[in-house]
Amino acid sequence: MTRYVIRRVALALVVVTGVVILTFVIAGVVPGDPAATWAGPHASAAQVARARQYLGLNEPLPVRITRYFGGILTGDWGVSVHTHNPVLSDIGTAAPATIELVIAALIIGAAAGIPLGLAAARWPGSILDHVIRVGSVLGVSMPVFWLALILQLVFAQRLRMLPVAGQYDPNLMFSHPLVTRTQMPVVDSLISGNWPMLGSTLSHLILPALVVATYPAGVVARITRAQLLDTLGETHVQMVRSLGFPERTVVGTFAMKLAWNPVAAILALVFAYSLVNTFLVESIFDWPGLGSYAAASVATLDTPAIAGITLFVAIVYVALNLVVDLVQAALDPRIRLS
């Protein structure tokens, strides 16, 4: 097992190095003039030149690459051209909002997908099965930015049932101020017992999370169903059935246990896809996460920020893959021996 862990971790590090090089290459292709944007609107030519010096844009390539690497390792991911803050700190401020949204979406996706997949496998070929199968294909075919606009129009604008945008009602910041610890409003209001704020954050979270959850729900439902159908046919399940256990238990308990594996396997992939989906949805719901930060960076040709976001997401993805692989290997000996 240890050898597997070492091999896997080494692989992950190699991948991250490759990612860093890739982002440097990307960051190096710079149209526009980051020095001018940095120096600001009132800058004279001399000030722009000083800015160029300060941003290190005049140095030779090998020096810049080494500085870049060194910086990444020590936490210096460059400075954002449009906010003038260190990129890592900007990401630190924006990331929790995105992560909160992705996690909420994944929870909803799993909570919806698994029972649906279960039900479809329980009565294969039925109307319910067909409806669920079509629904899950719809889920993975859905353009989330479109769905976000439609739901926002229907529920927030027309029916006025849910808030239009934002993370919480700003009025509450004065009557029931939110103590920020994790930068995730739902979590923060929960741990500080700020119930009115919790209600507000949850009601603001529903629409975006629902939209982003369509893809995970669809994938999870499909995989659960497929895996269950496979498992239900296997001998040991037949045996359990013949022993007289009710179908409900056969499907729910015994078969489900074996279905977890493929779900866990695609978890990282679904997380990554959902993460990117939140980028699309954030601007529509004024959600102050990485997606909004990325959009602002694109409009200002802020390459350090773009490179930083790319690197961050890639590292999260690699780390997640690593964790999932290690957990799977721990549970299933066949994997570590391959």
Binding site: V14, V15, V19, V29, G125, W146, V276, T303, T310, V313
Partner: protein
Amino acid sequence: MIRLLKANQLITAGGLIVLLIFVVAVFAPLLAPYPADAGSATHPENALLAPSLTHLFGTDQVGRDVFSRVLYGARISPVIALVVLLLACAAGVPLGVAAGYFGGAADEVIMRVTDVFLAFPSLLLALAFVAVLPASLTVVTIAIAITWWPWYARLIRGQAASVAGRPYVEACRALGIPRWRILLRHVLPNSVTPLIVQVSLDAGGVILTISALSFLGLGAQDPVPEWGLMVAEGENYFTTGWWLVTFPGLAILITALAFNLLGDGLRDALDPRRLPAR
């Protein structure tokens, strides 16, 4: 074969819609009532008209007929998606074959490179590329292809590796048949089926990625009638002009759905492990 197709509703449904999209794309100039609107024509006096008999899907903020633009859109995203997948295959297949058949150092290097590219969700890498290069469909095409080829390399590698170990291949080598002949005659044909399945499964995802990038302003630029771009342009007028967003988005959904159904159906039909009896 026909019987198999008829029995598989997924392939039928998906295939029919894909065929329809293909027909629309080819005959768009004939089907669209205002073909110029899909190009650079604008009619600002007719801005934001609601759907009516003269404009089935209404007009946009500069007066262009939305119906015509949606029809012409069938020439953009689906075609770009196919180009992307072709490029991805063109890069991935030879590399995968090389890795799987030759093994050893080549295999290691190629696999590590694919690992790096697989570390990025495709939209994100494409986003990083198009964010630093001038936005255009060409850049988007190349960017997505770059993020997609590793999957095919991996897929083909698996196939090639399994074939490479087979006895008849060893026999061929012993007979002195050149390597490339073996690859061509024995490895590739076996890889075609899973490749086709994977491509049709991926087409839907690629279409979503293309329209997402255009929605962010990083892909197609006005006046190209790309569906994602049309949704982005209509976003601000949505509350008073629902037709600007609804129809292009619906087109994306239906196209992605069709390819996904087709892919699912093909996988079910061509996967040797699956038995026809449900």
